[in-house]
């Protein structure tokens, strides 16, 4: 538990985030700080990470757990290095999103919800990402990959395998 801690820079950022909300309303910082925790402390919100956030924001642990379990962007289990989130909502499906999912399953040798044996990719389906006009699409980390085709998927996966960010 004691080994879990933000870097000095992130702690300064947490202070900055806290300053955005009035006195007595500092709980507002919870969502932004949970995002930081997920990014910096292992890619998911383990109970220890959530307890650390609770301590940092002077909240009781249950206040953190109930929020972390409500929002889909917070991961409650470890994932692969890259989480491929393919939109599967209606408008994307009209443009072939179901095939995109099937193609990715084939290319990665896993099914939705699984992680590749090398720990590189986790495949997920998600609901509408406000990208309906550029379907099919997926989100990986903080980027959108749109107008996906079979060859574009290959390029993206290849880039990630080389540790690069796809263009």
């Amino acid at each position: 538990m004691s080994s879990i801690a933000f870097s000095r820079e992130t702690l300064a950022l947490v202070d900055d985030i806290l300053s955005r909300y009035p006195e007595g309303c500092k709980k507002s910082a919870l969502l932004p700080v949970l995002h930081l925790a997920q990014q910096e402390l292992g890619g998911w919100l383990s109970p220890d990470v959530m307890n650390y956030v609770a301590e940092l924001l002077k909240l009781s642990p249950i206040e953190v757990y109930e929020v972390a379990t409500f929002y889909t962007l917070f991961r409650l289990q470890p994932t692969g290095k890259y989480v491929l989130e393919v939109c599967q909502t209606g408008p994307c499906c009209l443009m072939g999103a179901e095939k995109t999912v099937a193609d990715l399953e084939k290319k990665l040798g896993i099914t939705v919800g699984q992680t590749t044996a090398d720990g590189l990719f986790t495949l997920k389906t998600v609901e509408c990402l406000a990208s309906c006009g550029s379907a099919p699409m997926m989100r990986v980390d903080d980027a959108y990959y749109e107008h996906l085709t079979d060859s574009k998927l290959d390029q993206i996966l290849d880039a990630f395998k080389k540790g690069q960010t796809p263009s």
């Binding site: 007595g24 889909t72 179901e98 999912v101 099914t111 998600v126 609901e127 406000a130 309906c132």
Partner: protein, 447 residues
């Protein structure tokens, strides 16, 4: 006519320098020398209506804010765009971040608010970072912070990320989320104008609504009201998607015909080669689906227009709604049952779980639609679906429950034959449709 998307194609229009050179922030210079109530009055006169989906008059909403409580007042920008089919706020923020910031400064001044938040969905934080950069530039140039333009007016704007919950687009759920809690809609009253964020008077406005404010202040509310038709004043962004040639975000003067919007080269560019129109969902997934004969004409034979009034003409029997402007086109290769099941899965997934009718009902709707789509439908299933929708609609704290029911009730109303053909397995083979397959790949993804 471009109001919201003016200068869209200018290089580096997302920087303060270029935006300012082309007249950006002029409305701040003008508004801050007016009385706040006069700014409200101008927006009232414009006839601007909330562009998030509800269409409530923006100026009227502003006039409800409690100015006498002695508590701080807040403006919150709802940038939690997530209604399937809708991607116009995202486009506006990505391309023209300064227009939103400018609109928020003027709007905050009108509300005599000194702190404003942009609640942006967590998945869009890469755009949130663009907004943060625009905000930093506005501070650096004296348009935010203390004593803006020497007028004595102070304002701070902060970007606040959500974390993946459609329900947080509902304004009281958004406030709960912004307070660091689960996004559960609040009972109303009290309304946010009296007790909103941190129990203080609050106005929540959509990105597109706030982005229209600079033009209204620069050119006057009367000039804005002259654009469009009747109570559908001004321009509106529509995000067009589905099976059309040119998906994208289009700014239209309200009042053009739906036919023009679908088939004109200026907008959707028509259907894909060799396809015919099967249905349109004109205002986002929650709005009722329309069959071809009700898309371009109303039931009384009038041309259907892109206005709040015309799109809802005929009520739920034969009309739909303008909603959020998420315009989804389905052609003859699309399976209505599959699309309806898909939406029902979305609503089940996104129900916050607070009210039993919605929490349980959306799950039942999804299950029944799943079995119809997968060849296990029963003759009584359509009555069952309609019965469930009646037990959700109007029986929940927020309007999410109703929004989950309308797509289903309207699909059954206008495409009953397709549902029946699935149940008795006489449906034609369509792309992706599962009625003829024992097990589809997507079935594995079902929870």
């Amino acid at each position: 006519m471009n109001i919201l998307l003016e200068h869209l194609s200018v290089e580096n229009i997302d920087t303060f320098e270029v935006y300012r050179k082309l007249g950006g922030y002029a409305s701040v210079e003008k508004a801050l020398r007016m009385a706040p109530m006069d700014v409200v009055e101008e927006v009232k006169k414009s006839g601007l209506r909330g562009r998030g989906g509800a269409g409530f008059p923006t100026g009227l909403k502003w006039s409800f804010i409690d100015r006498k409580s002695g508590k701080p007042r807040y403006l919150v920008c709802n940038a939690d765009e997530g209604e399937p089919g809708t991607f116009k706020d995202r486009f506006l923020m990505e391309k023209l971040p300064h227009r939103l910031v400018e609109g928020m400064i003027v709007s905050s001044f009108a509300l005599e608010s000194h702190t404003a938040y942009i609640y942006i969905r967590g998945e869009l934080m890469w755009i949130g970072k663009k907004l943060e950069k625009a905000i930093q530039e506005a501070y650096a140039n004296g348009f935010l912070g203390k004593n803006i333009l020497g007028t004595g007016y102070d304002l701070d704007i902060y970007v606040h990320p959500g974390a993946g919950a459609y329900i947080c687009g509902e304004e009281s759920a958004l406030l709960e989320s912004l307070e660091g809690k689960r996004g559960l809609p609040r009972m109303k009253p009290p309304f946010p104008a009296v007790s909103g964020l941190f129990a203080c008077p609050t106005v929540i406005n959509n990105v597109e609504s706030l982005s229209a404010v600079p033009w209204i202040i620069n050119k006057g509310g009367d000039a804005y009201a002259k654009i469009g038709v009747g109570k559908s004043a001004g321009t509106k962004l529509f995000s067009a998607c589905g099976q059309i040639k040119k998906p994208g975000v289009y700014e239209i003067e309200m009042g053009i015909t739906v036919e023009d919007f679908i088939y004109s080269e200026k907008y959707c560019g028509g259907l894909l080669e060799g396809r015919t129109l099967k249905a349109v969902i004109p205002g986002g997934s929650s709005t009722p689906i329309l069959p071809p004969h009700l898309v371009t004409k109303t039931a009384s034979g009038e041309p259907r227009l892109m206005t709040y009034e015309s799109l809802s003409e005929g009520g739920f029997e034969s009309g739909s709604m303008l909603g959020s402007g998420g315009f989804i086109v389905l052609d003859n290769t699309a399976c209505i049952v599959r699309n309806t099941w898909n939406f029902s899965r979305f609503y089940h997934h996104e129900s916050c779980g607070q009210c039993s009718p919605c929490r349980e009902g959306t799950g039942w709707l999804e299950k029944v639609l799943y079995r119809i789509e997968h060849g296990q439908g029963r003759p009584e299933d359509l009555d069952l679906l309609l019965d469930i929708t009646k037990k959700i609609d109007g029986k929940t704290i927020c309007s999410f429950g109703a929004a989950a029911c309308w797509p289903i009730a309207s699909a059954i109303r206008h495409f009953e034959h397709e549902f029946k053909a699935h149940i008795d397995k006489t449906a034609p083979h369509l792309d992706g449709c599962c009625v003829h397959k024992q097990e589809a790949s997507v079935a594995r993804h079902h929870h």
